[in-house]
Assembly symmetry: C2
Amino acid sequence: MQALFSHIQKIYPISPEAESALGEICKELSFTKNQTIQEIGHTCKTIYFVSKGVVRIYYYKDAIDITESFEFENAFVARAESLFTGKPSQKAIQAIEDTNLIAIDSNKLFKLFDEHHDLERLFRKIIETSYVTTVNRIESLQFHTAEERYNALIKEAPDVLKRVPLKFIASYLGITQVSLSRIRAQK
Amino acid sequence: MQALFSHIQKIYPISPEAESALGEICKELSFTKNQTIQEIGHTCKTIYFVSKGVVRIYYYKDAIDITESFEFENAFVARAESLFTGKPSQKAIQAIEDTNLIAIDSNKLFKLFDEHHDLERLFRKIIETSYVTTVNRIESLQFHTAEERYNALIKEAPDVLKRVPLKFIASYLGITQVSLSRIRAQK
DNA sequence: CTTAAAATTTATCATATGATAAATAATCAC
DNA sequence: GTGATTATTTATCATATGATAAATTTTAAG
């Protein structure tokens, strides 16, 4: 739990009361490598914080497994398109390594926002940051070649190569695994 | 100004006090077709609401003009990657038609959040919605063909074709104008 | 360890899209 | 309205990436 609180501290420090209220609606969970954390078709009512390990969000397009995103230690994970709309998600969350998560009950969290203005501000800032990240990713997918995207990824997050299988990285970059292999070979 | 208030009403109704405080930090602006609303290199300190017309956000990649997004009536526009980070934006905002905007001073808005919790909640929800939109757009760019993306666009927003030049639509879809022309021809 | 399963690479061929240039159509300025 | 500018389409050729299959390497299970 402490990992979450120190992470929060860096984003927007909240009052001890808010922190304690937040602690009340959190659960610590463990998953083994490859284990499914949340299934496709499930409506997302949890915001996870990764305290140890790596997870990915994925979905199927024409029966092909596509990785939408990875998250490592000290990052939040949620299927936004379900969490913020209340609709069932077409995406799943899976542990890529043995992973420890802190699960925040989103309905309880949203209720806490009424009492704890600072908690709402914190999560507003978290969403803002996630939003900026996705806007930048659109730019990358819109007009960069697969090779440029691969190079950018290993520059920004060299850990990914060590901890995430290439088949997941390929679909994350919007290409097939074979194509990624080809790009890696020509160096 | 009324267009903004009625739009807000549908998202998250705010108190009359909050509405009046918001009104105080807004300005109504008009731009003619093709006019630049905000320049590249400028740090974004404004959230716009489109009350009439269409605007686009664009940037240059290798001297080629790329449209990141369009916004029509009753939508908010801001260069998130600058607004939320305080860094100068590499993107510009331009009117595609004669356009009326309501400009919200973001620094003043963020200060109002301290007094008006409901205003912060409103904007949290607006950001959440924008975030969901961009996440869905990543999915579209990640593994759909150019033709699928074009078909999805005209299905979801048929107005775009009538009001936005094809050269802007092409780069928005992540393809060249010539390629878009080819896709349109094969029908 | 040994074997099976999974991940990654390599090879071949097909195709969608890019780059460039030119033709045509639409829009704008006077 | 007329000519100039801009937008769109068409054509040709080049290339990056996809699809498929097979070989190789790595990982996992017993």
